[in-house]
């Protein structure tokens, strides 16, 4: 209560500075000079009280300097200065006026408060900082308080809440005050009230405080458990028999178990005439005979008695194992448990939202990676195994551009169209040189494009080396969009999402609203009919292939921004892209979108359920897709009409 009064006094001091202006800091310090010069944890309080009571603005810098060993005392008259020692010289700064003088170091003593004192000073300082007119100082005070919560700081924190002008900071202060109250308040009612207030708080620190209250230790007792029991544990379900028995041994409730090695070592140490415990050593490979031999030795008192598995089971059965709260008050643990459950429900909802964001961003990456593939597959019936290498080409284009254009924003703006142009050209070249000759042999197209894929991959390795190349994103894409402790998403992923949306719009526009799109759709649905109506399927094929490859190039730049650029990066995406196309259905933008969404969400969902193992997640996903194909062989959005049946 005293601390609270002090804090209130600080406020009084700060809000009424006029009353204190006649005083100087030096004049307040001198009466308590001894405590200042040689403080102890117990005595420094009075000196600090005097300083706080003065309400002078110089007090804060003085306390900071004092705590940092920056205050010197002149031996002659005991006056205090800020001092800066350099060589034999000492630069003294007047604590009130700020006037500097340079004097020899001799005749002055540096004040060195010990750790305990510094902590007391720090606590006092917090009172000032929490109410400092400067917002950033208040923020940093709150941060340091949150990092090292301390019982002493609760009162000043509470006191500073009402006067806090900044609404965000005020909310933060209330939150922090609740957290401190939960841990440090003396009155259980106060603590329970604060605990209840945390039930809507999803921040990690609030949950950490609640979890801390709910910390349990496992005890073993012969009868009913003592203390604030969290729950009774069942051996076998909640803890292993071995762990349970160890607990009994630690609590001196049972003799230590005889380890298998101990039996052997004891037997080996007691071999007489080629026999141990009366049994020839050659027969001791049999576990039953070993135990018998050991029992003989134990009966003779040579070795400690054997604790058999049965003994252990009996001992375990004779005891009750319980998880006991470290916190003794059941009312508090009950409240904390209720609050934590409620908070965790909210956290789960928030995690779901976060997962949705993650899945959306993954889906947009798959969409970007797969849409080019889907277009070429749909229009030409051609699977381009080197699609992944076009993604890689796009990413390396971005990397090369960054070597010449140092400004990251500009380089990305240059790289996107350039990547499109380069991969478009590569795609057209490939169509003209290879694909065109293989139209009626789809499986061979698959293999020929695979040949191109390994050649391109190795070529990239020869040119750029095997190590990963960075593609640095512009500064404004650094960081993340943070909604709460749980929900956040990096700006790069937001940008990729936007890019995917942009491309979705663009492709839908091209396909539905332009002459090219009309022709592409015509060729997709009925090649022969389209040709007889004056559409040149050759030209459409070429443009489609170029377009599909070009989009892969752009996807490459986007993917390169958050993943490493390597010669093998394309291979990492190609199978997922195939899956997307297969699941989504061929020849339809919306199908690809649906496929990408399904696969993105599926992958994130599986990763969430089995977070330790991304490899297993991918295995399950592939299995799911194989099963999915059973039920919808033509994908989510199946191509319609009689043409699709053949």
């Amino acid at each position: 209560m005293l601390r609270l009064l002090i804090a209130l006094a600080v406020f009084a001091g700060l809000s009424l500075p006029a009353t204190a202006q006649s005083q100087t800091l030096q004049s307040i310090l001198q009466p308590v000079a001894d405590e200042i010069a040689d403080p102890s944890r117990a005595s420094v309080g009075a000196a600090l009280d005097a300083l706080v009571a003065s309400g002078l603005p110089q007090v804060t810098p003085f306390l900071e300097a004092w705590s940092d060993k920056g205050v010197w005392q002149r031996d002659a008259d005991g006056a205090f200065f800020y001092g800066q020692a350099a060589g034999g010289e000492l630069t003294l700064t007047d604590i009130d006026t700020g006037a500097e003088t340079v004097v020899p170091a001799t005749g002055h003593t540096e004040l060195r408060p010990n750790g305990g004192v510094r902590r007391v000073i720090g606590t006092t300082l917090v009172q000032f900082q929490l109410s400092d007119p400067d917002l950033t100082r208040r923020l940093s005070a709150i941060d340091s308080l949150a990092r090292r919560p301390d019982a002493d700081q609760l009162a000043p924190l509470l006191a500073s809440i009402d006067e806090e002008p900044d609404p965000a900071l005020k909310a933060r202060k209330i939150q922090l005050a609740n957290i401190l109250t939960v841990t440090f308040a003396d009155d259980p009612a106060d603590r329970i009230a604060a605990i209840d207030s945390l039930s809507t708080d999803t921040s990690i620190e609030a949950r950490a405080v609640l979890n801390q209250i709910l910390t349990t230790g496992i005890t073993a007792t012969p009868g009913a458990p003592v203390g604030n029991v969290a729950r009774i544990l069942t051996v076998g379900d909640d803890l292993t028999p071995a762990a349970a028995y160890d607990l009994l041994v630690t609590g001196d409730l049972a003799p230590p178990a005889t380890a298998p090695n101990a039996i052997r070592d004891a037997l080996a140490a007691n071999i007489v005439d080629g026999r141990a415990g009366g049994i020839p050593t050659a027969q001791l490979g049999d576990p039953a005979l070993r135990e018998a031999a050991y029992a003989t030795l134990a009966a003779a008192g040579t070795v400690p008695p054997l604790v058999t598995a049965q003994d252990q089971a009996d001992a375990i059965a004779a005891h009750t194992f319980a998880a006991i709260y470290a916190e003794g008050d059941a009312a508090i643990t009950d409240a904390a448990r209720a609050a934590l459950t409620s908070a965790e429900t909210r956290v789960a909802a928030a995690q779901f939202a976060d997962l949705t964001l993650d899945a959306l961003s993954l889906a947009s990456i798959y969409f970007l990676a797969a849409i080019g593939l889907a277009i070429t597959f749909g229009v030409m019936g051609v699977i381009n195994m080197s699609h992944g290498e076009f993604i890689m080409m796009g990413a390396y284009t971005g990397f090369v551009v960054q070597q010449f254009v140092p400004d990251y924003t500009v380089s990305i703006i240059v790289a996107l169209p350039l990547a499109f142009a380069i991969t478009f050209a590569a795609g057209v070249a490939m169509e003209r040189l290879v694909i065109r000759h293989l139209y009626h042999r789809p499986l061979e197209t698959l293999l020929a494009t695979f040949g191109i894929s390994i050649a391109l991959q190795q070529l990239a390795k020869n040119i750029f080396g095997t190590q990963a190349r960075p593609l640095t994103s512009p500064g404004w894409l650094d960081g993340a969009l943070i909604f709460s402790d749980v929900i956040q998403i990096s700006y790069i992923r937001v940008a990729i999402f936007v890019l995917a949306l942009l491309f979705l719009g663009l492709i839908v526009f091209v396909l539905k609203r332009t002459r090219l799109g009309l022709e592409v759709r015509a060729v997709t649905q009925n090649r022969g009919m389209a040709a007889s109506m004056g559409i040149d399927p050759d030209r459409i094929n070429m443009l489609t292939f170029g377009l599909g490859s070009g989009i892969a190039g752009i996807a490459g730049v986007a993917i390169g921004l958050y993943a490493q650029v390597t010669s093998e990066m394309g291979a990492a995406y190609i199978v997922q892209s195939f899956m997307t196309v297969v699941v989504g259905g061929v020849g339809n933008v919306w199908g690809t979108l649906a496929g990408a969404t399904l696969i993105g969400f599926l992958q994130k969902g599986i990763e969430f359920l089995n977070p330790s193992n991304t490899l297993a997640a991918q295995t399950y996903m592939v299995l799911f897709i194989i099963l999915f194909i059973q039920f919808r062989p033509k994908g989510i959005v199946a191509q319609k009409g009689r043409a699709a049946a053949d």
């Binding site: 319609k640 009409g641 009689r642 049946a645």
Partner: protein
Amino acid sequence: MTSLLEVSGVSKTFDGFRAINDLSIQISEPELRAIIGPNGAGKTTFMDIVTGKTKPDTGRVLWGARNESLLGLSEAAIANKGIGRKFQKPTVFEDQTVWANLNMALRNKRGPFAVLFHRKTGEDEARISQIASEIGLTDQLSRMSGELSHGQKQWLEIGMLLAQDPRLLLVDEPAAGMTAEEREKTTDILRHAALTRAVVVVEHDMEFVRRLNCKVTVLHEGHVLAEGTLDHVTADSTVIDVYLGRADA
């Protein structure tokens, strides 16, 4: 003459297009029947439905004296019931000899292991040479069927149908792309086959149909427009309007 195949009230819609509309056709055994109609009349879809390639939206397809439903059976199962089909485009296995093509079609056990351990029998050989002489390909047995002329391929395919020993043959435009002489021979083969079994011929070519000299069913917009002898249907005014009028104009 007993009813072998009974198609009744069958409809099938593709994306809003009614390919077959309340179609009812009865085929007896033995019988030679020609189905004619303009493009899009539903001739091919009718065959697809009977052979199990396409599932109809409504209607019944009944088979044999015991009136088994064919709906829901796989293509292979329907084929094994005794329905053989010849496609519009000749689809023989061009990479294999004429002999192998016929051998594959022979009515024998169809399971993988039965096929794997299948031994050539004298009976098989006799049947193959008999069919080969029926379709006039005796000299070509050891040739790759891809090397055959268009007409020979068509005959080979009909031969494969005969080898299956089906009770019902569905033949899609057998005379397309044939010379006059080849057509005549095709007519003979079909009429000979129809002595012991049901043969349904889908055809465009009126001259060819006339030569078959059999009962004719006219399809229009997935529905039976008229049925009877060729002279009878060609005298029908509605038939003249929708088909003959246009085709001859």
